[in-house]
């Protein structure tokens, strides 16, 4: 059997990645899980988090913000609201978003905005992390 997986990361605006990989790890709502070739078919809801995949033994990172992962046969399809490869992450923008979210959290506004700010902060921090660890 072929020892690779076809990994597709799709967002509404574009196909972020389509590559043969040996291993994928994504952040599901119930925690990180890894997918190797021959994985059982699975449908999983994703959380904001890092996505790690290996190509020719090299670890690569990407940022995925929510969405769904569909594992079927040797195919892994990630449908994300937004996703970026670690190399393409706009660090300055992520930093700015982080600062904004922190300010909003510090200002103690109403509840809805707090929740939104918390999620935004997590997104920004994950982006920064994925960028730094690449």
């Amino acid at each position: 059997m072929d020892k690779t997986l076809q990994l597709d990361i799709v967002t509404p605006d574009k196909l972020v990645l389509s590559e043969r990989v040996e291993y994928v790890s994504v952040c599901g709502v119930e925690g990180y899980f890894g997918v190797l070739p021959g994985h059982v078919p699975m449908l999983a809801s994703l959380d904001v988090g890092k996505l790690v995949y290996t190509v020719n033994g090299k670890r690569q990172k990407a940022f995925v913000s929510g969405g769904v992962a569909d594992v079927a046969g040797d195919k892994v399809i990630i449908l994300a609201e937004s996703a970026e490869l670690a190399d393409n992450i706009d660090l300055a923008r992520a930093m700015a978003a982080k600062r904004r979210a922190e300010e909003r959290l510090a200002s103690q506004a109403d509840k809805v905005n707090m929740e939104r700010a918390r999620i935004a902060l997590r997104r920004a921090m994950t982006r920064v992390q994925a960028h730094d660890e690449r």
């Binding site: 799709v10 967002t11 509404p12 605006d13 709502v29 699975m42 999983a44 809801s45 449908l79």
Partner: protein, 288 residues
């Protein structure tokens, strides 16, 4: 008869207009390409999404999620009207607006309260003038068109739907049939139309978390996907319609300028003839 100078000014004016319409035609065609490629890029996403919904809903009953299944005795109805932000695209927006108003009329005849949501400035302005109630949104323009526009709309209607403020939601958008044909289309957004599994047996697979909560987390997003698709089509349709309109306008300019040229030459000729007659008759008189 018009004076020579008048006609000349008019000819220059028409030529300038033609330059503008020609440029607008080219801009529209470039934008149309962009919109079409965006539609292309979105297709894999929406197809995959559709598949997943099919797979999941094949696993359970209709009544399992509040976003599925008809409500009894509906009292209110939301209409999302997608139009363009700018005019000068023929009857494109007018057709969309009248389709939306017709739908609103039908719903009101059934005794439903109708509220409008907008994507696109033209539709908003028209509905505002008609005095129908509108939902409040932070943003109603389509420019720049990204997933967030659909996201905001989707979130707003889902929230209102779940809180019971809305019992039905429709999307009126431009259907992109072909380059030369765009027509308004109405699509039911909520309650989500029943998806037909088409007799396809869903395969065995793992779900994380369980299918019901997975479906619950996917469905609201599915609505955004549906709306976004409509918006993309509207935007492609808008540019196609503007291209056609500007093409017509350019051709009209050609016609008018040909007619004006003829008039100009005739006027010039008759002026020359009059002058000649004057001179000749003057000479005759001198000879006298």
């Amino acid at each position: 008869m018009a004076s020579l100078k008048n006609v000349r000014t008019k000819i220059i004016g028409v030529k300038k207009t033609k330059q503008i319409t020609k440029a607008m035609n080219m801009v529209a065609s470039a934008k149309l390409r962009g919109a079409q490629s965006r539609m292309e890029r979105f297709r894999p996403y929406s197809c995959k999404f559709q598949e997943m919904i099919l797979d999941l809903s094949g696993k359970m009953e209709d009544s399992v999620h509040p976003l599925l299944g008809e409500r009894e005795n509906p009292r209110s109805c939301g209409i999302i009207l997608a139009t363009s932000d700018r005019g000068l695209c023929g009857g494109f927006n007018t057709a969309l607006i009248s389709a939306a108003l017709k739908l609103a009329g039908e719903k009101e005849a059934e005794g439903l309260r109708v509220r409008f949501y907008h994507a696109g400035r033209k539709g908003r302005d028209a509905i505002k003038k008609s005095g129908k109630p509108q939902g409040e949104l932070e943003r109603f323009t389509l420019d720049p068109l990204d997933f967030q526009v659909a996201g905001n709309l989707g979130k707003a209607v889902v929230e209102e739907y779940l809180s019971g403020d809305l019992d039905q939601v429709y999307l009126v958008h431009g259907e992109f049939v072909s380059l030369s044909r765009q027509k308004p289309a109405v699509r039911t957004i909520l309650p989500l139309p029943a998806v037909d599994a088409g007799g396809k047996e869903p395969g065995e697979r793992l779900y994380e978390p369980d299918p019901a909560s997975l479906l619950a987390s996917i469905l609201p997003h599915h609505i955004k996907v549906l709306i976004y698709q409509g918006l993309l089509e509207t935007s492609a349709g808008e540019h196609a319609a503007r291209m056609a309109a500007m093409d017509n306008a350019t051709r009209n300019c050609d016609e008018i300028s040909a007619a004006l040229n003829l008039l100009y030459n005739k006027t010039r000729q008759s002026a020359i003839t009059t002058d000649l007659i004057d001179i000749v008759s003057g000479a005759e008189a001198l000879k006298g």
